[in-house]
């Protein structure tokens, strides 16, 4: 296994092109090192991408741009994620009570894993786009299209994630995150992010209900039924209950962490919980 730490994007792309499928870009290395027994034999080149200047959070009228090597704790403490429409990004990080992992793990890694992590669920609820770079140029994939299945993403050999873009939500928007896990330091069994846009009269004109870690597909999915149940309604307890009941269209996985039956129940509870938080944020006028 060779190790490289390039300081120019072009060098990183050239290495990725040279080693193809046998190369792995790493930054926080939390996933790679915790799966080293499986991965060391498969990987011929480890490419450290932390010196490429991809650690940044930039906010403009169009939305957020988060560099791939930005750590979870950098997102947690960024002013733009502490209040306002992106507050749920900070809240999503805060539900993982392992400071040591938050200091190392990056948004690019969370996006690429396509497994039991939290941030992609929030990114799906925010219609985020993943910017993919390679020697052939850059391309963009939506969060929904980027995940192909459990531990499977849309990167082709020679490509890597360089940025995550989150469009600015409409003026009056609020969001909530909810999570169930065995302990606050364990992998999620269910996570839910909801985002709503409210009209001047308080009715919901846009809704996203994203469910992660629990789905049969192994990747975050939106509940079309729960979203439909919210449109045109005021975000009160009845609407929240209706949306939670409608989230049964999310097909849950049955595995050693939890049964599908329990997960389906927790998805409902999570939708309820996350929507209440969104409603609370809307009431607070943030």
């Amino acid at each position: 296994m060779e190790y490289f730490s390039p300081d120019k994007l072009e060098e990183a792309y050239a290495l990725l092109a040279k080693y193809g499928d046998d190369a792995i870009p790493i930054a926080g290395s939390t996933f790679f090192m915790s799966h080293r027994e499986d991965l060391f034999d498969e990987v011929r080149a480890v490419i450290n991408i932390k010196r490429l200047g991809l650690g940044y959070i930039e906010h403009a009228d169009t939305g957020l741009r988060i560099g791939a090597t930005t750590t979870l704790n950098e997102i947690f403490s960024a002013a733009v994620c502490r209040s306002g429409p992106f507050r749920v990004f900070s809240e999503t990080v805060d539900e993982l009570k392992i400071n040591e992992v938050r200091n190392a793990a990056t948004i690019g890694g969370e996006v690429c894993i396509a497994g039991e992590v939290d941030m992609p669920t929030t990114l799906l609820a925010f219609d985020a786009n993943i910017v993919i770079g390679g020697a052939q140029g850059t391309r963009t994939a939506s969060m929904a299209d980027f995940h192909l299945g459990y531990l499977n993403n849309a990167l082709k050999p020679g490509e890597m994630v360089i940025e995550v873009q989150v469009p600015q939500p409409r003026a009056v928007a609020s969001a909530g995150f909810a999570k169930f896990e065995r302990t606050a330091a364990d992998l999620p069994i269910v996570n839910v992010t909801t985002r709503v846009a409210l009209d001047a009269d308080g009715t919901c004109s846009e809704a996203r209900v994203a469910v992660g870690a629990a789905t049969a597909a192994g990747i975050p999915k939106r509940s079309a039924q729960a979203e439909a149940a919210l449109i045109g309604r005021v975000l009160d307890e009845q609407a929240i209950a209706a949306a939670a009941a409608a989230s049964s269209d999310v097909e849950c996985i049955d595995d050693f962490r939890a049964s599908a039956e329990l997960r389906s129940l927790w998805v409902k509870c999570g939708v309820e919980d996350a929507l209440r938080r969104a409603a609370g944020q809307a009431r607070a006028g943030e």
Partner: protein
């Protein structure tokens, strides 16, 4: 497998070590540098016993490649007393006085995580202390006394 020569700055001292790319920082600190205060328990980021401070932030040294630790300030439990002018840090004192341990295996990681907390937040609530050690397991189950030790040390740090 290529060998990389790296200069690691640990507890203020620079050590030159030849490392293989897959060696973890925890392995190198213990087996090549000889600082065995850093413990390795699970070696997969679950137990917290390998925690060190990298540029004053706690990280799991089992999940960090040693080759990727060059150019950073690393502090292990051995460096805490040195940094404190040769005296035990208030956290170390309170862990001893209030017996915030049974077997002691998790203690270096607990103390370093708590030290990072107190540097950013000298007056933490009990909840904040619990969250700061959220990634640390104590298999003896002395959490109550660990939390008490950290709160006690916070008071001592504020008073000093």
């Amino acid at each position: 497998m290529t060998v990389h020569t790296v200069q690691l700055r640990i507890n203020g001292e620079v050590t030159t070590v030849d490392v293989k790319a897959h060696w973890s920082l925890a392995y190198v600190i213990r087996e090549k540098v000889g600082l065995t205060g850093t413990k390795t328990g699970c070696e997969m980021g679950t137990c917290g016993s390998c925690t060190v401070l990298l540029d004053e932030k706690p990280i799991f040294s089992c999940l960090r490649m040693a080759v990727d630790a060059e150019g950073h300030e690393i502090q292990t439990i051995e460096g805490v007393e040195v940094e404190n002018g040769g005296e035990l840090h208030p956290l170390q004192k309170s862990f001893i006085e209030l017996h915030g341990m049974q077997c002691g295996f998790c203690t270096p990681g607990m103390i370093l995580a708590a030290k990072a907390l107190l540097e950013n937040n000298p007056d933490p609530s009990e909840q904040e202390v619990r969250e700061a050690i959220g990634g640390h397991l104590c298999r003896c189950g002395t959490y109550v006394r660990i939390v008490r030790s950290i709160l006690d040390a916070a008071q001592a740090v504020r008073a000093s």
